[in-house]
Symmetry: C2
Subunit: 681 residues, 2 copies
């Protein structure tokens, strides 16, 4: 098709974009659209197979668009085209690849026919992501082998890719090459090839085949979450999560690193544990989505540096002490099979880059999901997990750091803690007058005070899940509510003067009854113990001190907004987070909870390859600071043990917290007396 | 160092090249040499470790070079340098990397210090090959990890490679990355990295280490030959050969392809057989060279297309019938571990390209070893093997083809045939008067008529090996000698009128006694049978017909020279080859026997990466022709069954062959009567 328009050439207008242009008669509508900058999807490249390029020719009076009628202005459909459209239930449409322009046309391009699809990230911060994955399938017609044509089957496939898709495929995976000859002959020289970055052919299948899938995984120290995505539409087809089985080797990063140092096969064991878990996760997600693990052609991974080291079977021992050297900071592309991952045999694994020794790919995931580096505002981004990553800054500069909070926020080290799974208490409210709690568990819509209980309740009305434990968001909410309602004091002790029946005293320590025996799966009550409160205090102190130190280093006293990320059940309620002192005091309307943003970042990098380049750039651009060894961090940590009270330091909590009527006990003294008790004194 | 020379700057002259130039005072002699285009070897890059860059400062009166004396014109050596030189036994030299120019200097660069070494291919056609392998080791000093330096260990290695060697290494093999952190710390931040094409780091070892090795392998249908080479010097350290274990699945290519078609695990079995054999071969070669298989960092493979398909675990079934489509024509680089080869875990395999369905990497190996494409002469290149590849042409055009000779030339299908191994008869002469043979076996220098035999001979004087069979070159020589001496007639029959005691008649068929019972390991005589003669006739007819047809297609009647390649024991004696009619008649002085040129080609591509590019280009440039299906080939084949006689068609054999005194029996009739016999008539 010539690009030079002639004033008598037919006019084509494409809705809903309204783009218009003149094209030579006989041009296919697909080519016409491409020339006008409207990308229509096509997998089969005009072979009447995929049906992805359908458009609706609009007819009637469209004088305002300059076209009176499209009738008769497009070539007649063939029987083959009509049958395909009828089978698709789209008899009112045409396939743009074989509909040729004969006169002025007004056509409508339906959403599903548009290439460069967009998905909207479903979270508090809605964001539009263009679907532009590293993996795609294309259908090609390959020249048949002939005596005297010495190109070889792979050479013929390369030529077909070049001619039909303008793709210069340089290599073919050995395993795909092994299947190539049979696929070509089984498919009568028509095959669907799967391309990685348009550079390498990683799969070949006979005939036409659609459906290309990827897995995005956040390897948390405590929880592993995977999203199985349709790489053509960008949609999440299944989300699966599981405990990181490495917890048996240590709950936090340091204990896992120690385990590697102390056991000659410690790395091997932990590496095998996570690979096995990932294989289970992939298989489950595939099953849930109705595909096979073998259909997964790419996976993107995020995780903290220790998790990524172990995932790669690299010794994490250097991360256990200063100067915390990572083996590799940059993004990696590795064959999944080299890691023992059971996906498609030619599948690649992409690992997002890290920023520093303890600010890993998970934080980069949060950053590319939330994009604080595009904002004029100065934001504080906090990703709460077994380690908390903290980033301060905006479009001109950013500082990041990692703080060792431990796994309490994820429900570990909590007496009745559990991971975010059906039956986990994820939301809690305590009535300030009666101190009676109500809660919601994952898997049951109704709050516990609306549960119809008793033998007379029909089965279908009973709660789908009783409570079996408390997950991360639940523990944050219940302890915040306990503080708000005065069950505990700002120093973390149970209020000895509170007469509520919900507070049970054992060995002079308070226990708050969150769920009664009839509300739980075990038939035993679920308590929040003094020790749980202490563990949350330690965790939140680490987080708060980290954020404080980073602000100090950035020379900042204030920030414009807070982004609160964390992968534990519900999004964290900003109010409760501030009540507990997880984040510095600020206007609550400026706090956004974004859930598992690290996992979202992995998903975004999976569906959009350009975001990987952005990640590589950002990871090097952010200035990472080591804080754990800083003496100021230790000071701030001790000071932050105290739970907030509505004072000068937390003016925004006024009206939420009660007046501190009990004299606060110094955190330092409390810690000393606690360790004194622990040592048997 | 500045490139702008000043007339008062010191003058440096390097011998033996005589290159001269002025350099700024304080320049190291190494840098001075580089600037003058003299490459001096250095592995450690000036760290006083490798000692590879030594030069001798010449002193005395050198007025003819413009320098009166070098005395005092070079910096004083440090104690460290002197110690290293003394340990190397080179106290009269200096290390050019730490010897700084202070005045006019005349220096001598010894052969072993020169980079861009050259090796001379030891064969009839001596050829100089520059040593420029794809693999090299470099020693680097890496920045120590420091708090706040977030590059990661791999990033620091990349920077060191860039700064110290101007190498942009893009990737590191996952297995090397796993060893990286420990190697850096064990080596106190000095490591030796192994680079593949200066692009990928495939190995890292603590501290300084030299020695980099590669394996070149020719996978023949019958015989597998491997050369283990020192990639720094280009020298062959060990050569090992073995039977291709696939022979149990069929002696020729077609029967192996049939085996794959008839057995569901036929490919798997044959693939495993060759991989196992290659692992044994590599281990043996490594042992012979005093290294481990793990020290082999690259391997280059040649072989016919069927052998390469099976080696890659690609189904060869398409090669079994027209249009003989190969899966891939181009050169390949594959991780050895993906093929199950036990070498260094990061090692690469390079497979030379093929020309066509039946003209494979082995022929490309012959071409890059012999370079007929550089000659103005038109040459006929014949590589004799289970399939014979034939190439006609010169620098302007070349045609190639493959002819199915079967394995007789390699000693298979021969009653007492064996591969080229100690004890194999490789040379034969028959006395025309007495018809007594004498022969030489591999592993024993003396001809058989010089063997002192009998119980009285001291052990050390006895032959190191008795005869245990006949290898390829032996069978060609003995049958040619039998024809020259009239033991057999031009139609291949044993001369019934020859009364020699050496000819034993069994069931009316002649047998020639080549070795008597006392000359063999078994204590039984070794015969050449009528059937052996027939098999050689069939093989030579295929070869001759192929060459004839190709000449016809090229529109040629004559050629200027013949290159005779083949991997069976000794080089083929051109005279005997022509006596048997393996090659068309021509001036014997224009025939060159070059031995296993395919294996030489693999070795050349191993030590010189530029030759791989040449191979890629040549493989596409040569025009390959399918001849086996051509009716003219069948005609020529039948006609060529006859053994040559000094007639119009072989004028150059006049005086070598006796007058054909027996009336020749038509080859066609002979074939019919033979098949009639075989069918029991």
């Amino acid at each position: 098709m010539s690009n030079s328009q002639h004033p008598h050439d037919p006019l084509v207008i494409l809705m809903p974009s309204g783009r218009r242009g003149r094209v030579e008669p006989g041009t296919s509508l697909l080519d016409a659209a491409r020339n006008m900058g409207v990308e229509i999807e096509s997998i089969c490249g005009g072979r009447l197979t995929c049906g992805k390029c359908k458009v609706r020719i609009e007819d009637g009076l469209f004088q305002k668009h300059g076209i009176t009628s499209s009738q008769g202005h497009v070539s007649q459909p063939t029987k083959e085209e009509m049958e395909l459209l009828q089978n698709m239930g789209s008899a009112d449409c045409r396939l743009s690849c074989v509909a040729y322009v004969q006169g002025d046309i007004l056509a409508f391009v339906p959403e599903e026919s548009r290439a460069q699809k967009q998905i909207i990230r479903k979270s508090a911060t809605e964001r539009v992501i263009e679907v532009a994955p590293a993996i795609r399938k294309v259908y090609i017609k390959v020249d048949e082998a002939q005596l005297g044509d010495h190109r070889g089957d792979w050479g013929r496939v390369q030529d077909a890719l070049r001619e039909q898709w303008q793709v210069e495929a340089q290599t073919i995976d050995l395993l795909a090459m092994r299947k190539l000859q049979k696929a070509l002959r089984d498919g009568r020289w028509k095959v669907t090839v799967t391309l990685w970055h348009d550079r390498e052919v990683i799969d070949v299948r006979a005939g036409y085949e659609e459906g290309v899938y990827g897995l995005a995984v956040d390897i948390g120290s405590t929880t592993v979450v995977g999203h199985l995505c349709d790489l053509r539409t960008g949609q999440v087809l299944a989300t699966e999560s599981m405990m990181n089985p490495q917890v048996t080797y240590g709950e936090d990063l340091m204990s896992r690193i120690s385990y590697v140092m102390m056991h000659s096969n410690g790395l091997e064991k932990q590496h095998k544990a996570i690979i096995d878990a990932l294989n289970t996760l992939a298989a489950r997600a595939a099953k849930a989505a109705g595909i096979r693990s073998n259909d997964i052609h790419e996976a993107v991974f995020v995780g903290n540096t220790t998790m990524i080291h172990i995932f790669l079977d690299c010794d994490p021992v250097e991360l256990g002490g200063s100067p915390f050297a990572v083996v590799n900071r940059d993004p990696l592309d590795i064959k999944a099979r080299d890691l023992g991952l059971r996906m498609h045999p030619g599948a690649y694994v992409h690992v997002l880059p890290a920023e520093a020794g303890h600010v890993g790919a998970d934080n980069v995931g949060v950053l590319i999901a939330e994009e604080p580096y595009r904002m004029q505002d100065i934001s504080l981004t906090v990703d709460v997990g077994t380690n908390a990553e903290i980033v301060v800054g905006g479009r001109d500069w950013m500082f990041s750091a990692s703080s060792p909070t431990g796994p309490a926020f994820e429900g570990a080290q909590i007496t009745y803690g559990m991971r975010a799974a059906p039956g986990a208490i994820e939301r809690v409210r305590i009535d300030p007058a009666t101190l009676q709690p109500r809660f919601r568990v994952i898997g049951e819509e109704r709050w516990s005070d609306e549960w119809p209980m008793g033998p007379e309740v029909p089965l279908e009305d009973q709660p789908k899940h009783l409570a079996s434990g408390i997950c991360g968001s639940g523990i944050i909410e219940v302890i915040a509510e306990m503080l708000i309602t005065g069950v505990i004091l700002p120093d973390g002790r149970f209020n000895p003067n509170n007469p509520s029946e919900r507070i049970v005293w054992k060995e002079r320590k308070g226990n708050y009854t969150l769920a009664t025996a009839d509300q739980t799966t075990t038939g035993e009550p679920i308590y929040v113990t003094q020790s749980d409160v202490r563990n949350i205090q330690l965790a939140k102190a680490a987080l708060y001190a980290g954020a404080k130190l980073l602000l100090l280093r950035a020379g900042m006293k204030k920030f414009d907004r807070v982004i609160l990320a964390g992968a534990f059940g519900s999004y964290i309620d900003p109010k409760h987070a501030m009540v507990l002192g997880l984040i510095p005091d600020c206007d609550l309307s400026k706090v956004t909870a974004v859930g598992n943003a690290a996992g979202d970042g992995a998903r975004i990098a999976l569906v959009n390859r350009h975001k990987r380049e952005e990640a590589r750039h950002i990871a090097r651009w952010v200035r990472s600071i080591e804080i754990a060894m800083d003496p100021i961090f230790q000071e701030e940590f001790v000071a932050a043990m105290h739970l907030p009270h509505a004072s000068d330091s937390f003016p925004h909590l006024e009206g939420i917290l009660p007046q501190a009527d009990a004299t606060p006990v110094g955190a330092g003294r409390e810690r000393r007396s606690r360790s004194a008790r622990q040592s048997g004194a």
